[in-house]
């Protein structure tokens, strides 16, 4: 016969009481583990959700940007950088700048990382005659967009060409034809035509614009320069999709002229600016929606924390009070037994131990079952299934260890006073009461 056997036999005899004690600890530990773990899984889910939204928003913004870029290309260009001394009425009359600048200007603007211009397109445009057809054309050459330092996000892997250019570079041997010319000579993409004695393939027919652009013939810059006898020269830099605010021009002008002192900057369509503004607004609205969502998540999180902060201590308190009452009742019920054990020579320490060990056992078993229950609850309601590799890291080993150690200790504490009372029972009184 040992104290241990006495305890286990008594537990077997009064299963219900013991089970209710275990249950109370199970609930308390389960609440603790589930609350702490659920808080973490909720955080993870909120993070995932926000990241997903952010990604969706970013994608949508990118799509939106592409749309606007296309719209802006169709509408025209935001700014045009031309020679400082170019007379503007002359520009109007000619349909192109007369004065030229070194081609290197465009590269300098790109290399210095213009703050306001995302896309740079050097052009050389000049009225000329199509000798083979005998008509006046606006001969236009461009090397395609040149990279701008700081805007590498627009570039392809080679770091030189644009991933999604607003105006594609023309491969040598290709030609892009303005709307009127194409109509007049019945030219379609894929046709071959001769210009200055060279056979060129029509790459694209440009949409009608109702301007001099309708008689434009676009070729690569080198070809245009050599035909016009203007090697190494351009007469304009189109600043496409500039970082547009309503008062953009002054800022762009300052920015560009800090790099190229002898140029002037002209603004193009104001509709473009309006669109850019709209796009900016859309971006802001998205950002605000995201912020609101994040704030909402934060509020929910705080509410859940508050709930856990109330629920867990409450469950623990109820469990400990229950263990206290249970042990007190157990001591009352077992007064006769305590009396006879004392008469048989069992010491007071051993009597205390009988009740304390029983409480520790309740705490230990309850904690283990509560841990399992907490994990099951998290698996069911945490939103992250247990087969997700991220599920198990949410269960903090420290918390588990603490629960498994602290639950029995707290139970022993709750049972302490009743156990002391049991040890203090006077066997002389008890045995008399019972006989």
């Amino acid at each position: 016969m040992t104290i241990w056997r006495l305890i286990t036999e008594e537990i077997r005899f009064r299963r219900l009481g013991f089970a209710s004690g275990v249950l109370s600890i199970l609930v308390a530990t389960g609440c603790l583990i589930a609350a702490m773990t659920l808080l973490r899984t909720h955080d993870t889910r909120a993070e995932r959700m926000l990241a997903e939204r952010e990604r969706a928003t970013r994608e949508e913004m990118e799509r939106l940007e592409d749309d606007y870029r296309r719209i802006m290309r169709d509408l025209g260009h935001n700014v045009l950088v031309i020679h400082q001394d170019q007379d503007l009425s002359e520009l109007q009359a000619l349909g192109h700048p007369r004065l030229t600048m070194p081609e290197a200007y465009a590269h300098r603007l790109g290399l210095h990382g213009s703050k306001t211009l995302n896309h740079l397109l050097p052009v050389l445009q000049h009225r000329a005659t199509w000798p083979e057809r005998g008509v006046e054309i606006l001969l236009s050459g461009t090397p395609g967009q040149i990279p701008v330092v700081g805007r590498e996000r627009f570039l392809a892997a080679d770091g030189m060409t644009y991933r999604n250019p607003i105006i594609r570079a023309l491969p040598p041997g290709m030609v892009r034809i303005g709307h009127s010319l194409a109509r007049r000579f019945d030219l379609k993409p894929g046709d071959t035509t001769t210009l200055n004695g060279e056979d060129l393939r029509v790459e694209q027919v440009l949409p009608q614009e109702g301007s001099i652009a309708d008689i434009a013939v676009w070729v690569d810059l080198d070809r245009a320069q050599s035909w016009l006898g203007l090697e190494g020269k351009i007469n304009g830099i189109l600043g496409l999709e500039c970082i547009c605010r309503v008062d953009a021009l002054g800022v762009v002008d300052k920015d560009v002229r800090s790099i190229l002192p002898d140029v002037q900057v002209l603004e193009f369509s104001s509709r473009v600016t309006a669109r850019a503004l709209a796009r900016q607004r859309a971006g802001q609205a998205h950002a605000k929606a995201l912020e609101a969502e994040a704030a909402h998540q934060e509020t929910m999180r705080r509410e859940r924390r508050l709930f856990a902060a109330v629920l867990v201590p409450l469950a623990v308190a109820v469990a400990l009070i229950w263990i206290f009452m249970l042990t007190l009742g157990n001591v009352r019920e077992r007064r006769g037994e305590i009396g006879i054990l004392r008469a048989l020579g069992v010491g007071q320490g051993a009597i205390m131990m009988v009740f304390l060990l029983k409480a520790v056992l309740m705490g230990g078993i309850g904690a283990v079952l509560g841990l399992v229950a907490g994990i099951v609850v998290t698996g069911l309601w945490g939103g992250i299934p247990p087969d997700d590799p991220e599920f198990w890291p949410h269960i903090q080993p420290g918390l588990v260890m603490a629960a498994l150690l602290i639950a029995p200790a707290l139970c022993a504490l709750a049972a302490w006073l009743p156990a002391v009372r049991a040890a203090a029972e006077d066997p002389a009184v008890v045995l008399r009461d019972w006989s």
Partner: protein
């Protein structure tokens, strides 16, 4: 003069009632119980028999006088010391049996091992159960036993450590005549084998080696 198993000299005990007057349960009481003798305390209810047994068992301290068991002055021991001494030296039998309800008959008999362990206790318990005619009851809970069987289990428990002294308080009080006779027979046999038995009863028909008649205050001792 050789040492008596129990030696009471001038023992008095007065209960300080919490809400009533003090009750003098025993007054200047002296008694010797020699080993191998069956001593019966006989007297009406309330004359102090239980009080006396509790004092001999070291569960109650006298106000005056000395209690020696096998030469040991119980007052000289600490509470834990008395418990250890009691575990080895004294067996108890009560009117209400005081069996532990969730232990089988065998485990109840082995309960004294909680205080003092030892080799061969289980075998002794089983022998004892057999001798008391309970072999087919050893795995039953007290609730499943008759009163007579319960008291025999209690007796077997008292005998486990083969104590020098058995204190029996009204052991037949809740038993039918046949069971009572059986229990008395076992107690008498234990005394005959060399143990001392001090039994309290209000029965007047019990034969004893020494019969102590207690009345309020006065004591008459008969030796047979």
């Amino acid at each position: 003069m050789n040492t008596a198993t129990v030696e009471l000299t001038g023992v008095s005990k007065t209960y300080q009632g919490s809400r009533s007057a003090a009750v003098a349960a025993l007054c200047d009481f002296s008694l010797r119980v020699e080993s191998g003798s069956f001593v019966v305390l006989q007297g009406p209810s309330g004359c102090g028999k239980t009080t006396l047994l509790l004092m001999v068992g070291g569960l109650l301290s006298p106000d005056q006088g000395m209690v020696r068991v096998r030469g040991q002055d119980l007052a000289a021991l600490s509470a834990e010391g008395r418990a250890a001494f009691r575990a080895r030296t004294i067996g108890f039998v009560f009117q209400q049996f005081h069996l532990i309800p969730y232990l089988t008959a065998l485990d109840n008999v082995l309960a004294p091992a909680l205080a003092v362990g030892g080799a061969g206790l289980r075998q002794r318990a089983e022998e004892s159960i057999t001798r008391l005619g309970l072999s087919d009851r050893r795995d039953h809970l007290p609730g499943e036993l008759s009163s007579g069987e319960r008291q025999r289990v209690a007796l077997a428990r008292a005998l486990l450590h083969q104590p020098a002294l058995i204190l029996a308080d009204e052991p037949t009080g809740n038993l039918d005549e046949e069971s009572a006779m059986a229990v008395l027979g076992h107690l008498r046999a234990y005394a005959r084998e060399g143990g001392a038995v001090l039994m309290a009863t209000h029965r007047t028909d019990v034969s004893a080696d020494v019969l102590v008649r207690l009345r309020s205050g006065a004591t008459v001792t008969d030796h047979e």
